[in-house]
């Protein structure tokens, strides 16, 4: 029996993806049918040149009709159905050829969905029905692909389906660069909604409707649809686990933790080996601060076996993600050793998991321990490629650890850096007072580049740090001409004014946007030991704004060791918000740095009294008491050297 395979597709404006798709099926199919529903780019021509049979089909809002047109033209014995943003993985062609010789009516193939953005791409496997015998009665119905499964069964009660997981389809459609415009999403949603009105009992349709709503972030509506779709559903339905997971994720997104937890519990009864359920329940419990439960759940997730493909398990839920969450929890308890252990386990499971890498870097504290961090990282990883070095540079930059970041950026050839990374490098140079080199880079950014304003601002900062009033003045004039937002403009203004000793300048009121910029600039000034500049900048800001952001400002001062300023700002904040646990905690931290241990302890107690749900407060207070005992006993041992019991007590404390 002949087993000719026809690839059928419907496309519109897919010239970016089409070649990748068509290239991947070269040896897998015998015929390619492409139905173009109205491309305005080179899709039609491209398809023709690739050897496909191309038909034009004016779009009339009806998916099925368009698809069925492609089926009607197929002359093969089997139909393989793909979208333009998909491609067949290497090695699948052989499997494909083999399975079409078997006595089945259709196949579920494995699909791997790539999700995310550059540097942070995740994969999620699933099963999709894409291969079936070419018979005239097998035609698509409705807006959803999958409905053909029912159509075939209706026409052929003996129809047998199999799963062929070795045929792998790679789906690039969810990658951020390729996310379709909101309009297209909403258009799809409306189409399905219409269909659902005509077929209200179609659970499969309702499920897909829910999925579209979920993707459009319309979570409350999604939950309703999912819940309805789940009513009376046969627990063996292939999309049931996914459906349950969507419900949980929707409630989680809506912050309805009670519901999310309750659905998770029920779901676990049905699918006790579904790793995602443990993982998401873990996340819920972390948000509710039930750390003990969360810990158990993540540990359970880690023990889960290989997940069946139809669970569509999100990558890492039984591996690197769970480890990462455990690391985060250990950090909540200031247990850095444990945290590092978990983060390293996470990276071992997925060496591309940037979050774990950033977390490790953060613990190593590259800003204060540049050499140590570099050496430690070198022990664990090798950063050979330019991409790896840029990534590390950016991670260090985020700390901010400018010196180490510069180290990594410098390992990459200048021409490999895009304009944004180049600006980052320039900033690092500024922080090393290498102004000329920085300016060279900044000047190379062209005015059409999106980074131009940022580059300009940093040029100003070069001269600001050098206290070059005239240069700052002229450059800020130029920057103003570039249509900045109100707040950014105001900040640029105070940068200029801060170089002048004036008492009657109007004081500026800022909001989140402006203050974010101010905080960043003041931080950079402090990093350069230019405390005076930072304070001059703040002097230009209205008291009411300063009071609102006093806590954040105080934190930055103390981060860079300016404890007196830090203390006065936090005190300012506490004046109006005496019940703010975090402020009390920050005050305690500052006082401890100033060796005012008793005062610090009082503030830790206050923080605890106000918010008993923060593990950090407890841990820090326990550490402080230990420090106090140690100090007390050391002094006592010095004053009374002949009393052995004191020595014992001191040793006991040291051992703890």
């Amino acid at each position: 029996m002949s087993n000719k395979i026809s690839l059928c597709m419907i496309v519109k404006n897919e010239q970016q993806n089409l070649l990748r798709c068509l290239g991947s099926v070269q040896n897998a199919v015998d015929e390619i049918i492409v139905v173009d529903t109205g491309s305005t780019d080179g899709t039609y021509l491209l398809a023709e040149q690739a050897g496909a049979k191309v038909l034009s089909f004016p779009w009339n809002g009806n998916f099925s009709q368009a698809r069925n047109t492609s089926l009607a033209c197929a002359t093969g014995d089997w139909i393989l159905f793909l979208d333009a943003d998909e491609a067949l993985a290497a090695g699948s062609d052989a499997v494909l050829r083999r399975i079409v010789s078997e006595d089945n009516e259709g196949y579920f193939l494995k699909i791997i969905n790539f999700i995310g953005a550059e540097g942070c791409v995740e994969s999620c496997p699933d099963l999709v029905f894409r291969l079936f015998r070419n018979k005239p009665e097998y035609r698509f119905r409705g807006a959803i692909h999958e409905q053909i499964v029912d159509v075939i069964l209706e026409n052929n009660r003996q129809a047998r389906y199999q799963i062929a997981e070795d045929v792998v389809i790679l789906h690039y459609g969810y990658l951020n660069e390729q996310i379709t415009e909101k309009d297209k999403k909403n258009r799809n949603i409306n189409i399905i909604k219409q269909e659902l009105e005509n077929a209200p009992h179609n659970q499969l349709l309702r499920y897909h409707y829910g999925v579209e709503l979920f993707r459009a972030d319309r979570l409350a509506e999604a939950v309703e649809e999912f819940t309805q779709a789940a009513e009376g559903i046969d627990p063996n339905t292939v999309y049931f686990p996914k459906l349950l997971r969507y419900i949980i994720l929707s409630y989680y997104g809506l912050k309805d933790y009670d519901q999310a937890a309750s659905v998770s519990k029920q779901a676990l009864n049905l699918f006790p080996n579904y790793a995602d359920l443990y993982y998401y329940r873990g996340l819920i419990e972390v948000d509710r601060k039930n750390y003990a439960q969360a810990y158990e759940l993540f540990q359970q997730a880690l023990t889960m076996p290989e997940q069946p493909t139809y669970y569509a398990s999100f990558s890492g839920t039984k591996g690197f993600r769970a480890y990462y969450q455990l690391g985060r929890m250990a950090e909540e308890f200031y247990n850095e050793e444990k945290a590092l252990k978990y983060y390293i386990l996470s990276l071992r499971d997925n060496p591309n998991f940037v979050l774990a890498l950033s977390a490790i870097v953060q613990i190593l504290n590259p800003r204060e321990n540049s050499e140590y961090t570099k050496a430690a990282l070198e022990k664990i990883f090798e950063f050979c490629t330019p991409e790896a070095n840029i990534l590390m540079g950016k991670i260090c930059f985020a700390e901010p650890a400018y010196e180490l970041a510069l180290d990594y950026f410098s390992k990459v050839d200048q021409t490999c850096l895009d304009s944004y990374t180049a600006v980052l490098k320039a900033i690092c140079l500024i922080q090393q007072r290498r102004f000329l080199e920085a300016l060279r880079i900044l000047e190379a950014i062209s005015p059409e580049d999106a980074q131009y304003p940022l580059a300009k601002l940093n040029k100003i900062l070069c001269f600001w740090i050098e206290k070059n009033r005239s240069k700052v003045r002229s450059l800020t004039e130029e920057l103003f001409a570039m249509h900045l937002s109100l707040e950014t403009g105001a900040v640029v203004g105070i940068i200029r004014d801060s170089l002048y000793k004036t008492t009657s300048s109007p004081v500026v009121i800022l909001g989140d946007e402006g203050m974010a910029l101010v905080k960043n600039i003041m931080l950079r000034a402090l990093d350069l030991d230019e405390c005076q500049l930072a304070e001059a900048l703040l002097d230009r800001i209205d008291q009411s704004t300063l009071r609102e952001y006093a806590l954040a400002v105080g934190k930055i001062f103390s981060q860079y060791g300016y404890y007196d300023q830090g203390q006065s700002y936090v005190a300012l904040y506490l004046e109006q918000q005496p019940e703010c646990a975090e402020a009390n905690f920050q005050m305690a931290e500052i006082l401890q740095q100033k060796e005012l241990l008793t005062e610090a302890s009082l503030y830790y107690h206050q923080a605890l009294a106000t918010d008993p749900q923060e593990p950090r407060y407890y841990v820090k207070l326990i550490k402080l008491y230990k420090k106090m005992r140690h100090a007390l006993l050391s002094e006592a041992c010095r004053n009374f050297p002949n009393i052995p019991v004191l020595q014992e007590l001191l040793e006991e404390v040291a051992r703890e």
């Binding site: 929890m329 308890f333 200031y334």
Partner: protein, 578 residues
């Protein structure tokens, strides 16, 4: 037909302190009083004679029935009311005459309310009102035995209140009873009532191990006809199993018996408690709910008030809280409070929850708005809770309404004001206390000196400390305070360091430290005064090796307390905590 008459028949021994009260209440409701003294050495007989001339003497022969029947023989009325001197009949509700006027009845069980230490009461039905034809049987725990159950009536009023006896007296009574019971049992080994009493006496002595066997026998062999005995025996058996840690047997008993008595709320409640103790909160809640559904059991059952309402609600709340469902827990705490405003455990839990989850201010406002702070006992408890949680300002607000009225409240206010920076007000209250009390208590004397110290009013502080020194019991405290004052003034203590060894002197300083750590002042300057006080005290304590280790131990204790809270709140996330 002529109206039936009632006579009070009592046997007494050394009840001089209580007899007046007992007889005074009852004398107008009865026609005759017969009192039999079995050997008083106090003024019992004299007091009895004030109320009746029918006072007789009976030589004690270890047989209660003999003594009581002796009294009944001397009764001339149709009915007998049998009371003990430590019982009081509450005549405000209920009508004895109406009861005995009923031709169908020949005897009545009245409710005996035995008040427990926590204010709750247990209710027993006791046969105390009967026609003069009946007599007591049994040397110990004597009973009126009635053959025809239809002539026995039950009434809920009037209530018989039984006052508590001193523990010592109770224990000696029990010892005596056990001896008597053993004697009686050897003569009559199959007597289930004797078994019952032996069981209860052992239970009373805390020997739950010895109580189990007799109680089990009673339960196995007694029928429902004697549910008056069976139900308390059942409760006691469950309680014994619980004390012995034999939870599963207790649960089995509850399960079986609850099928027999589906209306007995106490059984469901007890089962709930057992599951709660085992940590099986979901099941516990189911049982508590059934207790509520069952409602108050018929009068004949031995019932602890509240097991069908506020106690059940409170425990449901507690179970829900332990299961992490604090929102629902709060609702049940509110139910409990609604059912009984005076049982304030749920209020305590609610406030703790509010403190942990919402904010202390909101917790306080909630209490205020719902009127819980009008009751001084509740207000004091809530104030203490706020104080211990680090909110002296809110503690103060709880009690502010009692200023100038209640010395005990004022004492507490002095403390709260002293440690929330309201020094002048605290000193004013001390003055008020001086005028209304003959002697200032030690605690407030210390608070006064501390307030003066923080105000830096050293000379007055010293004067007060010297006044305190004059009182012999307060000398060590005064010495400590003088040392402290001098550390502030001149940088060194007044006493030689060795003398600081005295534990009492150190303890008062450690107590002050504890209070300082609870202080809360908005003003940074003021807050640092308390920090300075802490530092000075620590400096003082560090001056002598004998006290350094006490201070180190105290700091360790404080650290442990924080650890315990950390573990409690986050259930010792395994390996995460240091």
């Amino acid at each position: 037909m002529k109206q039936p008459t009632i006579s009070l028949a009592m046997i007494v021994r050394n009840e001089g302190s209580r007899l007046h009260e007992c007889l005074q209440d009852i004398k107008d409701s009865i026609d005759e009083i017969v009192i039999v003294d079995t050997g008083s050495s106090d003024n019992t007989v004299e007091i009895a004679s004030e109320y009746t001339d029918k006072v007789y003497h009976f030589t004690w022969c270890d047989d209660f029935s003999a003594a009581r029947n002796f009294a009944i023989e001397r009764v001339h009325c149709d009915w007998v009311l049998s009371l003990d001197a430590d019982e009081r009949l509450d005549m405000s509700e209920g009508d004895l005459r109406a009861l005995i006027d009923n031709p169908e009845r020949e005897a009545y069980c009245l409710p005996l309310h035995a008040i427990q230490a926590d204010g709750n009461f247990d209710r027993f039905m006791v046969l105390r009102l009967f026609k003069n034809k009946f007599r007591f049987k049994g040397a110990i725990h004597e009973q009126i035995i009635i053959d025809d159950p239809t002539v026995l009536g039950y009434t809920l009023f009037p209530i018989l209140w039984h006052s508590t006896v001193s523990t010592k007296e109770r224990r000696s009574r029990r010892g005596r009873n056990i001896a008597l019971l053993k004697k009686a049992l050897s003569a009559d080994p199959d007597n289930l009532f004797l078994q019952y009493y032996i069981g209860t006496e052992w239970l009373g002595l805390g020997r739950t191990d010895k109580a189990i066997s007799p109680l089990r026998q009673v339960l196995a062999k007694l029928t429902d006809q004697h549910v008056l005995f069976r139900s308390p025996a059942l409760r006691y058996l469950i309680s014994c199993y619980k004390s012995e840690g034999r939870f599963n047997e207790a649960i089995c008993t509850c399960l079986e018996e609850s099928m027999r008595y589906p209306e007995y709320s106490d059984l469901f409640f007890e089962a709930g408690i057992l599951f709660e103790l085992k940590g099986e909160y979901e099941i516990a809640v189911k049982w508590f709910n059934q207790a509520v559904a069952a409602g108050k059991p018929p009068a004949v059952f031995h019932h602890t008030g509240g097991t069908e309402s506020y106690l059940a609600y409170y425990h449901i709340g507690h179970c829900l809280e332990r299961s992490g469902m604090s929102k629902q827990a709060k609702e049940f705490y509110h139910c409990a409070l609604q059912a009984n405003k005076h049982y304030d455990h749920p209020l305590y839990q609610l406030t703790i929850l509010e403190l942990a989850q919402v904010s202390a201010d909101k917790a306080y406002i909630g209490l205020q708005e719902r009127g819980y702070l009008t009751d001084p006992v509740v207000a004091a408890r809530m104030a203490e809770l706020f104080w211990e949680s680090g909110f002296p300002d809110l503690a103060e607000r709880c009690l502010v309404q009692f200023e100038g009225k209640n010395a005990n409240m004022v004492r507490l206010l002095v403390r709260y004001k002293t440690y929330s920076g309201k020094l002048a007000e605290a000193l004013k209250l001390i003055e008020w206390l001086r005028t209304s009390e003959p002697v200032l208590g030690l605690e407030e004397a210390v608070d006064e000196i501390i307030a003066l110290l923080i105000k830096q009013d050293f000379s007055v502080a010293k004067a007060r400390a010297l006044e305190l020194w004059r009182i012999p019991e307060a000398r060590s405290v005064a010495l400590s305070m003088l040392n402290l004052i001098n550390i502030f003034r001149i940088g060194k203590p007044s006493c030689l360091p060795e003398l600081i060894r005295a534990r009492k002197m150190t303890q008062v300083l450690v107590d002050i430290l504890e209070n300082c750590w609870r202080s809360k002042v908005k003003d940074w300057q003021m807050q640092s005064m308390y920090a300075a006080l802490i530092n000075k005290i620590m400096e003082l304590l560090a001056m002598s090796p004998g006290t350094v280790d006490m201070l180190a131990a105290y700091l360790k204790e404080k650290s442990n307390a924080v650890s315990v809270n950390l573990n409690h709140n986050f259930e010792a996330v395994r390996g995460m905590c240091l």
